[in-house]
Amino acid sequence: MKKIDWEKMSKPIILVGAIIILSVLRPQSFLTANNFANVLWSVSVIGIMTCGTVFVFLAGGIDLSIGTLAGLSAITVVEIIDKMGATNASVIIGIIAALCVGAFAGMVHGLIITRFNIPAFLVTFAAQSVYLGLSMVITNNRIVSAREPALFTSIGSMKILGFPLPIYLMIIIALISWFSLSRTTFGRDIYAVGGNPEASEISGVHVSKDIVLCYVFSGLTAAIGGIVLASMTQQGMASTGSGYETQVITAAVIGGVSLLGGVGTVPGCIYGVVIMGLINNGLNLMSVPSTQSGLVQGVVIIIAVAFDALQHQDQSRKKVKRISEQIKGTASS
């Protein structure tokens, strides 16, 4: 009982701890409202993407393509705006097209993974390369800038009540994800599929269809992330969004999502995203170059997943113990 309390307490403790450490390290710059808004703003894209990809993680899969898919979506929208003369209509069409790209890509991943029973990491790893190539072909390796129209640039920069729009977008998507995962049949089915696909199938869950939908949602949020990124930076290029898959995985595992499937929540993800923001911000304040973020993320992922795997092992060990007790019980009857 004590242990569970400790587990529950660990999240706020880490959060508060991180804030204290950062405030002590950089008292004049960290503890400002501006910096906090900045932290949230900087992770809003990761937040949006994590809230979508968590469906895939919960169903026991992985999506390594979301980074370059975000890039491809960003390019789709900026290219359309560019080609159509930066009209407001072009923004709408561009956004719709980018969303379609994301959703379609996700559907393809899902179908290949479920139909042919191919490891998810391989399909999405290969897809990563395809989307990067497509982006490079479309842009011809140039940076496509999108400073116009205001309708587009405001997505990334407009402030409502002092907070930038992407933060609201992140919150809206988090709410949608949270609602569908915790309050709808679909969400319940996803947890079941990630926990035990065979038992889910027998319980009447349409396992393959649900998995495909997870990848569609993951692709969709990658596209939204890409659009927001393009708007924030007012440009699109092949490298937009690269490396985001690792950031999303890191945020998810910090938030208690098991990459082995079936465990994790949206609030947990948001927590993970905020911690990611604080880590990035802290590294930034301490002038650690951004090239070092892979080190931190990598170590965090390994520790979190190793810990998770250890618990699984513990459980299976307990399982063995329980089964042997049952055998004894049977033998005695």
């Binding site: 569908s180 038992a199 027998i202 009447g204 399982k319 049952q326 004894k328």
Partner: protein, 505 residues
């Protein structure tokens, strides 16, 4: 055949947490004999074997090998003595050749490299010695199950094993494959290799064994020489009751008059695990399906529920033809409790609430798309009440519960919805006596409420306890139906084994 003893186990005692499983058991194996070991589930066969192979340590007793007392403390000890166990779950490596498998980790080396010529010729010698239908260079993945088993046996023989232990070796073999295995077993015996043959199948035991030891309730029930093995007597010894005797192991079956709920018409499997199966189940009836493992019982109920697709035949529920899949079956009012609870029955990481809700979202209240979590909780409370899960904590993860409670959750999720037909496969495997009794009374209650129930079970007592009518399957077909008569465990067992009553051998 010499009467020299190879292995002798005397006064073996073993208990688990105070409950005796083996009580003063004696078991011996002569050189060059096939010694069968039989007994009902839980009679102590596997515990005895695990003591001989060093997996369990005995509480008391003595084991002698070739006349000398020995201590077997690990599986390695047992290998060193010359005892090999042929696992039911084979340990051969498919992408390697027969020779590579036989000499895995003891490959002959020349200059540090594997000497394939030598290895293949050594394997060929072994194959020739026992005349196996194998070639050293064939990949194991190109072999059928029967031949894979021979590779496993060869692996044992390459250790110079004098004693092979075979646990239900024919359970995954076809008739032809089993035949060829029997031939091999006889050859091995003629070469002086001893074999402990554990099987539920009497006909195999009659055919092969030179002696037979029967265990019952952890004690020696009989040791029979070849000419003493009489089918009827063996069955009676295993059960401990006379075949015609009327007592708690017999039951007056009845026939129900309700309307037909499920009708199965000449259902046939694509992999030939069952053929041309037809039967009916009426509303309010409990139909028991008995048979040995591999007789096709589980496969047929999976096909009815729609987990697997049948190749041909029809399934009619209340005269409506179904092309079943699990989701459709559930919506039509069929419930299914699968055989392997852990793998197929529940989601271990989820709570009782969510496991119960998983098959019942169609009846849980919703506002828009949002599940009414109160109603969901109420539903699980209803299930908990209906099946008496203790402690009654609906939020507890099912994976952390006892086997009995887990099974209650798996069963309970069906009790909260209107069912027409409930199919339960091995409903009480591995759960305690108290939970068993509760599950039986739930099944009785369901039937009296007009639900049709199909119970698949290996446990004869259980079949007798719950069934109104019993059909027995053997080798993929229905061989016997018991209704309107007094039936005993022995009669069912005889039908399962294909032994005619009163037959002498």
């Amino acid at each position: 055949m010499s009467k020299e003893l190879l292995l002798e186990a005397n006064h073996i005692y073993k208990s688990f947490s105070g409950i005796p499983v083996l009580h003063d058991v004696h078991f011996d194996v002569r050189r060059g004999e096939v010694h069968a070991l039989m007994g009902e589930n839980g009679a102590g066969k596997s515990t005895l074997i695990k003591i001989i192979t060093g997996i369990y340590t005995k509480d008391a007793g003595q084991i002698s090998w070739e006349g000398k007392p020995v201590e077997i403390n690990s599986y390695q000890d047992c290998l060193n003595l010359g005892i090999s166990c042929i696992y039911q779950e084979l340990s051969v490596i498919p992408p390697l050749t027969v020779a590579q498998n036989v000499y895995l980790r003891k490959e002959p080396l020349r200059a540090g490299l594997i000497d394939y010529n030598k290895m293949n010729s050594m394997t060929q010698q072994l194959i020739d010695l026992y005349d196996f239908p194998l070639k050293p260079t064939t990949l194991v993945e190109d072999l059928g199950m029967g031949q894979r088993q021979l590779v496993e046996i060869l692996k044992g023989l390459s250790n110079d094993s004098k004693l092979l232990i075979m646990d239900e070796p024919t359970s995954s073999l076809s008739g032809k494959e089993a035949e060829s295995l029997f031939g091999i077993i006889c050859k091995l015996r003629d070469q002086g290799v001893s074999i402990i043959y554990i099987s539920h199948r009497l006909e195999e035991v009659y055919r092969l064994s030179d002696r037979l030891t029967i265990l019952r309730d952890g004690k020696n029930a009989a040791v029979l020489e070849k000419d003493e093995i009489i089918p009827k007597m063996v069955i009676e010894t295993m059960i401990g009751k006379e075949m015609e005797e009327v007592d708690d192991s017999s039951k007056e079956l009845r026939s129900d008059e309700g309307p037909v709920c499920l009708e199965v018409k000449s259902l046939t499997d694509s992999a030939n695990r069952f053929r041309n199966i037809s039967f009916q189940v009426r509303h309010g009836e409990i139909l028991g399906i008995g048979g040995l493992i591999g007789a096709g019982r589980t496969e047929i109920v999976r096909a009815i529920y729609g987990v697997d697709k049948a190749a041909s035949g029809e399934v009619l529920l209340d005269d409506e033809r179904l092309d079943p899949n699990p989701a459709l079956s559930i919506s039509k009012g069929i419930g299914f409790v699968p055989e392997d609870r852990r793998k197929q029955g529940f989601i271990p990481l989820l709570s009782t609430v969510k496991n119960v809700a998983l098959t019942n979202y169609d009846i849980i209240k919703r506002t828009g798309m949002a599940i009414d979590e109160n109603d969901e909780l109420e539903l699980s409370k209803k299930a908990i009440e209906a099946i008496d899960i203790r402690p009654a904590d609906p939020q507890k993860e099912v994976g952390t519960m006892s086997g009995g409670n887990q099974q209650k959750v798996v069963l309970g999720k069906w009790l909260v919805r209107g069912l027409k037909l409930l199919i339960v496969d091995e409903p009480t495997a591995g759960i305690d006596v108290g939970a068993k009794a509760e599950i039986y009374s739930i099944l009785d209650q369901l039937a009296s409420d007009g639900v049709a129930v199909i119970v698949v079970s290996s446990d004869l007592q259980e079949l007798l306890r719950v069934s109104h009518r019993i059909i027995v399957m053997r080798k993929g077909g229905i061989v016997r139906e018991f209704k309107d008569e007094t039936v005993t465990q022995a009669k069912i067992l005889a039908a399962m084994q294909g032994v005619e009553e009163g037959e002498k051998r």
